[in-house]
Symmetry: C6
């Protein structure tokens, strides 16, 4: 029970009922009389990301891109002291997604500090950065990551007062369009000059996160390759196995939580060592690679 | 009765009926035959902020951030001569909020003067300022404070003629969209140049309030720490206890209401002394710390 | 009958029926068999401004602010040759308003000249100016005055061709949104450059009216204080009493209607003398001090 | 019959039926058994401008302003070779209007040339110009004239290709909002730079018309005064009487239709002579002075 | 049958049924038992342009303007190698139109080349140009031509990639507002700078077409006058008669289709000769002169 | 079956049912008792592009333009290493389209890399480029290509983070207007300055693709002519025949997939050789030439 609870942070009662139901269906399909942990684990993934799409034909090239993308997320999230650590990576296609990396904070979170957000942004961009470093170009895959990262960076500037240049105030006036169901529009209530400043501040935050991710992945390229190698073989890595591959070889452990998001890396030799901790339940987030129907 | 009346300013008849009903439910649940003052006090908080969320697991770090945040509000509101004094602080999670500080003006108010608004703005920003000074960075917690403060500062400039630069006129044309229920939109009926000036004036007002709060909290950091210490122990402080902790040690009493919102603090030694006054009922306001579902 | 007619300019047949009905109710409540003039006067105020709110507790400070605010309106309106003269001041709270000053032109008006509008604007800003001069700052009270003044000044520029700089044309295209009931929106059909010029012209008109009001109140501060003193004692002043207090002491009478809105005041000694005239019915306007629910 | 036909250009069958009906009602009210020409003339005015408002009390000052306003329209329209000549002036209040001047082209028109539009614009502004020249300021009365003039000038630039600077094209995209009944909105489909050029061209056209009107009224101020004198006595002038007063004294007759809208007036002595022609039916237009409910 | 088919390009089955029905009605009205070609020809005009308005009184001046306007369209369309040749001109008022010129491409067209569009634009502006050259000013008549020409020029720049400066891309995002019936709005998805460039490119295209039309009409003014003379006599010209008058006298025949829209006209002496060809059915277009209800 | 499957990538179950139904109808119409491959092939085209429009009269000129347009698409798509190879060209009019070229990636694709998108853009613009090079001007035919290309280029900049200048973030906020069915609008949430940068980046991407297409078609003009010659004779080319004509003569084979979209072509002599590969099923796309109803 506790293992399941740890994997299902934020689930409502209805979600949990649905989860058990999925487990029962899987067990019945397999001719079992009892739902084992095996079915429950599978059920968790089905509920969060949709059923496996085994019939989907994926080229070797796309499989590799997906693996490097997910490994990029996981590696950056693991390395940064204020980011949530990854607890599962998969390159099995589910629903619209070609793969996913799942993160879990070490304790319950009800709000976030600026440094937590900056490290999370770096982890969000880790997928795109890995694609660029390995293949010389990125793909349409990270569009969802970019949208989420932009939204967070923009909120930091316009709603959480985290830009010194623009100061402790909010920008934009939310309009809940009640007659449109749940649609929310945002009215611009500031000048064009401020709009430019917001753009510049968002850009700086995104750039900072991008370079943090780039430095980490460049410094630990060997570890990125190891993760990808495991991932192409196993398709899904989690728990002790994930801990092992993220800490593999002479890889430094994860540093203690500190004030600065950029990991110490003067000459590129000192490497933070981080013992794998069993992640505690909290506010998890997904970084699925979405296949694009837009082109 | 009078004690309850003082705690429920602005309550409608329906609100009061609801309040007594909540008290009756609590009493019944506790097997009592009469509703005591204990149940009524609890009922007031339930009606204003929602039921307690005792089951919610909150990390020590987040508890401390919340405590410093609420203490920041309370300290600034207490110190400024034209701000409403605080009458209750709590770090018990209720509804969406992780804690709250409640203020109550010393007399009924039907309108506000410029200096009252400036001091209130400083108290609104006190939470964010405390976070920054103590932890070196702020969190997503103050987003609601920032939104309220921005709205007040903007109204000062665009509806109350309180910006000398823009003069005694209003800006923007309210449109009550009757077909959308209660939605109110605001049409821009001024030039881009004026929009810039409004932004700059709002920024100046916010900055003034921010620096007032920063100076006060920096000067009285020891008292801030005392409040937080009590708050972490007691979870809720009010009445005489709150008066005592706000006046604790060599802390100066609250100065008499005067024209200038900035407290006298030449060399940082003279400290205003303020005897705790039983707050009279008026137009109270809350400053709850909202947990963010947006990240 | 004639007295009532003079007090109810612009009333429709339905309004008058309502008025008599209110008078009958008041008489019945007081156990009278006939409606006397006393009830009818009270009825006029009820119909225009709502019932008295005697239960409302108003602090001495707010009572004084309201009195100075209303006295400011009345004094400026009385002094300016092309403004409508005041015929009643009150600081009794009614409906949403904390007080009101009522004006009545000396003859029926079907349109307004530029100089009448300029003087009316000065009277509209008289409340805010009085607050600033007496208390060193203004309050949220004048927001309604500012909105009305801005609308008139804007109309002078955009609909009545009264800005030489922008010339004899209109700006903006009214859109009566029939499906929204009576909502009227205004589409901008001019360039940003013209929008700036409109802002500047509106600003100049408002500034001119503001300085006219400021000079008048500064020059006749003693009379302002007398009005306030009477008002705090009587709560409502009208007719001969109002004439007396507005003309009181060595106060100059109202000058004859002339071309220039600025009263002659070279060395501040010559003072216009104006015998109180019984105001004739016309297009009256109110300047209620609204209590603000927005903070 | 022919006389009536000449007075009712543009009337639909339904309008004519309505007209005869109004005539019948008037005759019945006067106890006549036949509808005479007297009733029909009155009916025409009722149908176009609404019933007379004899009970309305109008001050002498406003009556004079209205008379000069209407006389200004009529004089400019009479003097300009390409404008439609006036055929009736009235200062009797009808419906919302305090007075009107009615124009009638000498022949049916299905479209207008540039010079016809420029002269019509000057006649439209004649009312405002007369107010300014006689009283030193204008009133809110001409707002309707200004709106019409602005619309025509704007159409010349944006829909009729009559601005050399902007060239033979249209600007703006009409959107007939079918779901809003007859509301028409216009989408801006051009740059801010073009919007400025449109504003400047509209301004130039309006200015040209304004100065044409100003010169004509200044040069023939004596005739303006004669018209006003007659109008204040007679209240309504039309037909031969109007011809006589417009040609009165040493007043020059109306020049022949030529290419240039500006009348020859080298030293202010040569005066065009224009025999009064019985106007032929065509596309008539009204210039009512609207009383303003907006202040 | 073939003659009718040639006159009704683009007609749907329903249009053709309507056409025959109109013919039958006309025949019945004339007491005929068979529908002759005479009725069918009349029916074609009724279906396309509405019934004749013989009762409408049109001044000689307006008749001349209309004739020159239509002749301008026809002459320019005839002269330009890539424009569709005219096959019928009329100055009989029908529906809202005072006259029309109808064009018919020599073969079916499913798309248009850049040079075809440029020549068509010149023909569209031919009406306005003729008015300006003959009368020294244009009228409100060409508003419909200007709107169509602007739309085509704008499409060339924003949808057909025909502006070298802006390149092979589209601008603006069409929004079919399904709930508004057939209304189509266009969202601006480009910067203000691009909006300026679009304006400038549209202006250049329009200017090029305008000058092409101006040069052609100036060079062949004698032929324009001949067409107008015939038109004022005959009211409608088509077929051989139109061919004859367009080729009349020493008028050059229409040149062969070539790459450049500007006709060779070094010294203004060499004149293109064009034998009148019986136009083949295709995508015809109308250029009606609309009477304006907008002034 | 496999042949059909290869031709119907992306078809849903319902699409396939529809396909077989169309085949059955065709077989029945031809009096066959069995559906042969002939009917199925025809059915595929009917389902994708609509029924043949054999009755449509197309001029020789338009047939040639269409043939060059489609050949341009096919040649560029064939030459570029990262573009999807063409598998069928047709100039038979179907539905609204005058012809089409169909492309099929060599393997299933779930996302696209930057170089794949750049090569696809070049193939999209190949039709317009061929028209320009052969006829000296383009037509309205490519409007659909331009719209698609603009959308892809814009997405690269605003949603896929593929512009180095603007960085790894998204721009614009999608609003699914639920009450409008499936309409999606996009709210601009960035400054005018960023809007300009987006325009410039989109322009650069489009220009790069345009010049790639121009160089390829210029270098292989002889092969373009061969394709057109075959197309005018055969009307539809696919499979081995298409492979043969695309590789015809001394034409170089298609190069291996590499990093750079620009084919090696220093002196224009070295020519990539590409053996025709039977395309594997994947995400196919069409490039129909749409006839324009907009002029």
């Amino acid at each position: 029970m506790e293992v399941l609870a740890k994997q299902t942070p934020g689930f409502s009662g209805a979600d949990l009922a649905n989860l058990v139901n999925e487990g029962a269906i899987l067990a019945a399909r397999r001719g079992k009389k009892k739902i084992t942990m095996h079915e429950m684990n599978e059920a968790v993934d089905r509920v969060i990301a949709g059923p496996e799409r085994k019939s989907r034909v994926i080229s070797q090239k796309e499989r590799e891109i997906t693996a490097y993308h997910e490994a990029g997320h996981a590696l950056v999230g693991f390395m940064l002291p204020n980011a949530d650590p990854p607890y599962k990576i998969s390159i099995i296609a589910r629903g619209m997604a070609g793969g996913f990396t799942r993160f879990l904070p070490e304790e319950d979170r009800h709000f976030h500090t600026r440094s937590q957000l900056l490290d999370r942004l770096a982890a969000m961009l880790g997928g795109l950065v890995a694609e660029e470093l390995v293949f010389g170009e990125s793909s349409t895959g990270p569009s969802d990551d970019l949208e989420k990262a932009t939204r967070v960076a923009r909120q930091m500037v316009t709603h959480w007062g985290m830009s010194e240049r623009l100061g402790p105030r909010t920008f934009g006036r939310k309009e809940e369009m009640v007659f449109l169901g749940r649609e929310i529009s945002e009215q611009r209530n500031y000048s064009e000059k401020v709009a430019e400043e917001i753009d510049e501040e968002v850009r700086q935050i995104i750039d900072k996160a991008y370079h943090t991710a780039k430095k980490l992945i460049t410094d630990h390229r060997d570890r990125l390759d190891s993760i990808v190698k495991s991932l192409l073989e196993e398709e899904t890595i989690e728990g002790e196995a994930l801990a092992s591959v993220l800490n593999g070889g002479d890889v430094p452990p994860r540093p203690e939580t500190g004030g600065d998001a950029v990991p110490p890396s003067g000459d590129g030799e000192e490497k933070p060592q981080k013992p794998v901790q069993q992640p505690k339940p909290g506010l998890a987030w997904d970084s699925p690679t979405v296949t694009d129907p837009e082109v």
